[in-house]
Every structure is written in C-alpha cells, then in structure tokens.
C-alpha cells in the first residue's frame, strides 16, 4: 500500500456520519491527492518525494477529519433542536386549540341546513359568532 493509499484509509477510518457522505469526502480527498501527485511527477519530482510533498501540503489528516466530524455534529444538533422546537410548537398549538374549543371561543363548524334537494339553505361551515361578540 502506497503512502497515499495508507493516508486515505486512515482518513476514512476517522470520519463519522452517514456512509454516503463519508464516502463522498473520501473520494474527493483521494482524487485531490492523486491529482497533486501527478502534478509533482509532471514537474519532475520522483514518486516517493512527490507523495511525501503532497501529504505534507494536505496537512494533518486527523485535524481535517475532526473538522468535518465537528461540523456534521453541530448540524445534527441544530437539526434536532429545530425538530424539538417544532414538536413543542405543534403540541402547544394543539393544546391551545383544545382549550379554546372547551371554553367556547373556538366552536366547531355548524352543520349545514339543507332543503329537500340537499342544497344548502343557510350559511354553514363556519363557527357561529357568539352573540356577545357580534356588533
């Protein structure tokens, strides 16, 4: 296994998260390292020196993997928080609706009065306005 292949394998082992997302990053980094080695070889550098130079320029593989892991963890945390806030808001809205219904402030829709042909003959579907609120 070449130093580049070893580095890619070590990088892949450090990543956390969904397989597809990890594989995408690994594929990108691998292509990057190969492109950089080819550029060094084209400039006349020997393979061993080229691979060493490329890995040196890439920097700390562990730090790069941790950067990606940390960003994903932050996003996952934010996503969970948002889901929790939405769930709390939905529960609160449902509770408010039940309270209003029970107090008569938000009565259910009135049934339609229909004639013999089944046509609506009175306003319906909307809750009736309590007499005390009507002006």
């Amino acid at each position: 296994m070449s130093p580049i292949e070893q580095a890619v394998a070590a990088y892949a082992a450090e990543l956390r998260g969904p397989t597809r997302a990890r594989q995408r990053l690994v594929d990108e980094v691998e292509a990057h390292l190969h492109d950089a080695v080819e550029a060094e070889l084209a400039a006349g550098t020997g393979r061993a020196a080229a691979e060493e130079a490329v890995l040196e320029r890439f920097g700390d593989l562990h730090a790069s993997a941790q950067l990606w892991n940390r960003d994903r963890a932050v996003r996952r945390g934010a996503s969970r928080r948002n889901a929790l806030i939405l769930a709390c808001a939905a529960v609160a809205a449902a509770a408010l609706g039940v309270t209003q219904h029970a107090s008569g402030k938000n009565p259910p829709p009135r049934p339609c009065a229909t004639d013999q042909a089944g046509l609506a003959i009175s306003s319906c579907g909307l809750p009736s306005v309590p007499r005390s609120n009507a002006r």
Partner: protein, 106 residues
C-alpha cells in the same frame, strides 16, 4: 513560504475562487495559491470540510464530473452564494480600509 493563518477568511477565499466559474476542490486550492502569489499556502485538508459546510449552507452546489479515469466533485456557486460573496467582499473592503487608515495615521 510560511503558512498563513487565514481561517477567518477561508469562506471568502473559497467563494471568490468559484466566482469565475465551477471548479473541483484541487482547482479551487490551486486558484487561491496562484492568485495569491503563493502567499496562501495553507493545509489543503481544511478546504474540503469548508466546501461541504458552504454547500450545506446553500452557498454552493456540487456534482461529480468524470474527467478521464478519475471522478472529481465540481463546485459551483448558487444565487445565495453570490449574494453572500458580495456581502463578505463589502465587509472585507471596509475592514481593510479601516486597518490601512489606522496604520497610515500612526
């Protein structure tokens, strides 16, 4: 040349490098290195997590492109990315002008 610490401006550099057209990660890094005259010779491993973050923020989009035998992920700016770049450019220009004013007044 010594590596320049410029992590605070990495997003601006990446967006600016993609302003002229789509590039893959290696192309972005080479563009920044060459256009800065080799000044920004930083750890390349920091670029890919940053590109992924900018994409997750909706500032970039990317797709695989087959170039010969090797696949490369090509990044391009979104409309939101162009707007963000314009804002960050303005911020940077104000900052640079302020620093210059202070230095020259000393």
């Amino acid at each position: 040349m010594a590596r320049e610490p410029f992590s605070g401006h990495l997003d601006l550099m990446l967006l600016a490098a993609l302003d002229s057209g789509p590039r893959h990660g290696y192309g972005v890094i080479e563009h920044i290195r060459q256009s800065s005259g080799g000044h920004f010779d930083y750890p390349e491993g920091t670029v890919y997590p940053a590109l992924h973050r900018l994409e997750a923020d909706g500032l970039l989009h990317s797709a695989w492109s087959a170039d010969g035998a090797r696949r490369r992920r090509v990044y391009a700016m979104t409309a939101r990315g162009r707007k963000a770049l314009a804002g960050r450019r303005t911020q940077w220009e104000r900052f640079a002008q302020s620093v210059t004013a202070v230095i020259e007044s000393a």
